[in-house]
Amino acid sequence: MTSPPPSPALRSPLPSPPPRRSPAIAFTLAIALLVIFCLAPVLWQLITSIKVNADIETIPNIYWPSRQTLSHYAELFVRRPFFNYLFNSGFVAIASTALCLAIGTPAAYSLARQPIPGRSLILGLILIVTLFPYILLFLGLLELARAFGLGNNYLALIVPYTAINLPLTILVMRSFFQQLPRDLEDAAQMDGYSTGQMLLNILLPLTLPALVTTGILTFIFSWNEFLFALTFMTEESLKTIPVATAQLSGASQFETPYGPLAAATVVGTIPLVMLVLFFQRKIVQGLTAGAVKG
């Protein structure tokens, strides 16, 4: 049976005891295991991508190749349109991120500050919608894309990606708006700003950190998305990175190009590795704000 937490009045007047520390060795070992666990698959792809073909297919595996090559990377960009793939992924990701922030931020403000009938219901639905697996949307969106002739059109990806990221954007930005002091808005209104002007000129600069956070999350999602990219972008020069990489594996009939495959994996993940390295804290903030606070 758990005892109820002690009320502040009963809290001990003594200084708090030092936190218990588990044996340093066990702790360090656990951290080391965690780091290895997270990095190992990525590092293995990196190592494989610079091995010569003969070394790749050597058993037992070579973990520290004595000879290296960049030929696999060269093949990606020379024999396959990898620049196109990178551009496609980047363009779609940036466009959907921009659109999502543009549409989601005013909506978030509205839900944070303005009286709206059925606000709880709207928020509840927005939250529930984040649980939908994309396969549920697949058939309907396929029909829409065909109806509007959007096959192999960037819009076929940009619009769904924007919509899929709206819930998280709205929830995160809303909680951010709620934390801003109301005096700011009241003062702005007394100075004669319209709500739109106030949002744009006064509040937006303040919300920049939150915008960056949600922007990064949207970018990550859009770059990584697979199902819709696979379905709607079938033309080789329009494919996104995940689709192109996955389809590299079935390229040759007689031999699987392990080297270029590994190189493709590395190239396809570098932008995200960079993002994570520079924006780790923001990413974590965004994830927890969106998911925990709901």
Binding site: T2, S3, R11, S12, P17, F27, L34, C38, V42, Q45, E57, P60, I103, P106, A107, R113, Q114, P115, I116, I126, I128, L131, F132, I135, L136, L137, F138, L139, G140, L141, E143, L144, V159, P160, A163, L166, I170, D186, T195, G196, I220, N224, F226, L227, I241, P242, T245, A246, A264, T265, G268, T269, V273, Q280, I283, V284, L287, T288, V292, G294
Partner: protein, 299 residues
């Protein structure tokens, strides 16, 4: 609370601010679900020259006797339950690990986020390579450790292919879970632990008495999100095993995809979509009911 002075000019602004988002959400989320519902009552496939013909509950009747559907449902259930359970336990352990100050904690957290941030489809290619029967690292390491005598055909064996998938999924999403739980851990006041310790409790006892109960909302959210995501898993399975060998790792989402794209059986695909949707809704509803009112309030 005094009424906001902007109330009189609120309505046009509300419409302008909120409408685009709501409209887009309705279009991308609402329309497909509604359309699938309607289409599921039709037969529209190669047999009908791709023209829709009303068939009532025919598709649903067909589903009852469709062995492949039940098989994929079973695969999905196995995958989901195994993956989510492991990720929860592992995620909690990692969160507890990261919940103390140590040198390099920021860097470790960065590294922990990496698996989640990388494209599933791209890493699936990598995992297929890792589990490759001839040149894969897993076989190599196991053999070097003398745990197996010869290479195992991971992706060619029905049970082992599922294991490989689960390993890849655990790798990718455990960080996500641990980040959620870490936030929850950080919101538990230290005084509770101190008081408990003063009463003579061990950290192990504190974990069960304080940590776990107070972490319940975050745990519930993590389970909910992970369950929904696992249930609809597509990228990982499609790229890593393609549903093979011989459909032994085919999940519901793969079946829907194949039904629509390969067999051009739109009516049936819609019915499968609807049933998947209902199953998900039912499970979420049960979970929320179990969560109870107190948990919901904390959500």
């Amino acid at each position: 609370m005094p009424p906001s002075p902007s109330r009189s000019r609120t309505w046009p602004t509300v419409f302008l601010f909120l409408a685009p988002a709501i409209a887009l959400l309705l279009l991308i989320y609402g329309y497909p679900i509604a359309r699938s519902l309607g289409l599921s009552l039709m037969t529209q496939n190669l047999g009908t020259q791709l023209e829709p013909q009303f068939s009532g509950l025919g598709n649903y009747g067909r589903m009852v006797g469709d062995g492949r559907f039940w098989h994929t449902l079973g695969n999905t259930a196995v995958f989901t339950i195994a993956a989510v359970t492991i990720e929860l336990v592992l995620g909690l352990a990692i969160a507890l690990l990261l919940h103390r100050k140590f040198w390099g904690r920021g860097l470790v957290r960065t590294i922990a986020i990496l698996p989640w941030a990388l494209p599933t489809a791209v890493m699936a290619v990598g995992w297929a390579w890792i589990f490759n029967d001839q040149y894969g690292v897993v076989n190599d390491l196991l053999q070097r450790l003398h745990l197996i005598s010869g290479p195992i055909n991971w992706l060619g064996d029905p049970a082992l292919a599922m294991v490989s998938l689960i390993v890849a999924d655990v790798w990718k999403t455990t960080p996500f879970v641990s980040v959620l739980l870490l936030a929850g851990l950080q919101s538990i006041p230290d005084d509770l632990y101190e008081a408990h310790a003063i009463d003579g409790a061990t950290p192990w006892q504190s974990f069960w008495a304080i940590t776990l109960p107070l972490l319940m909302p975050q745990l519930a959210i993590a389970v909910l999100f992970r369950f929904a995501q696992s249930f609809g898993v597509f990228d990982l399975v499609q790229v890593m095993t393609g549903g093979g060998p011989a459909g032994s790792t085919e999940t519901v989402s793969l079946y829907i995809y194949a039904t629509v794209m390969r067999y051009l059986d739109f009516g049936y695909g819609a019915a499968l979509t609807v049933v998947t949707f209902l199953l998900l809704v039912a499970t979420v509803a049960i979970a929320i009911a179990l969560l109870g009112r107190r948990g919901l309030r904390q959500l």
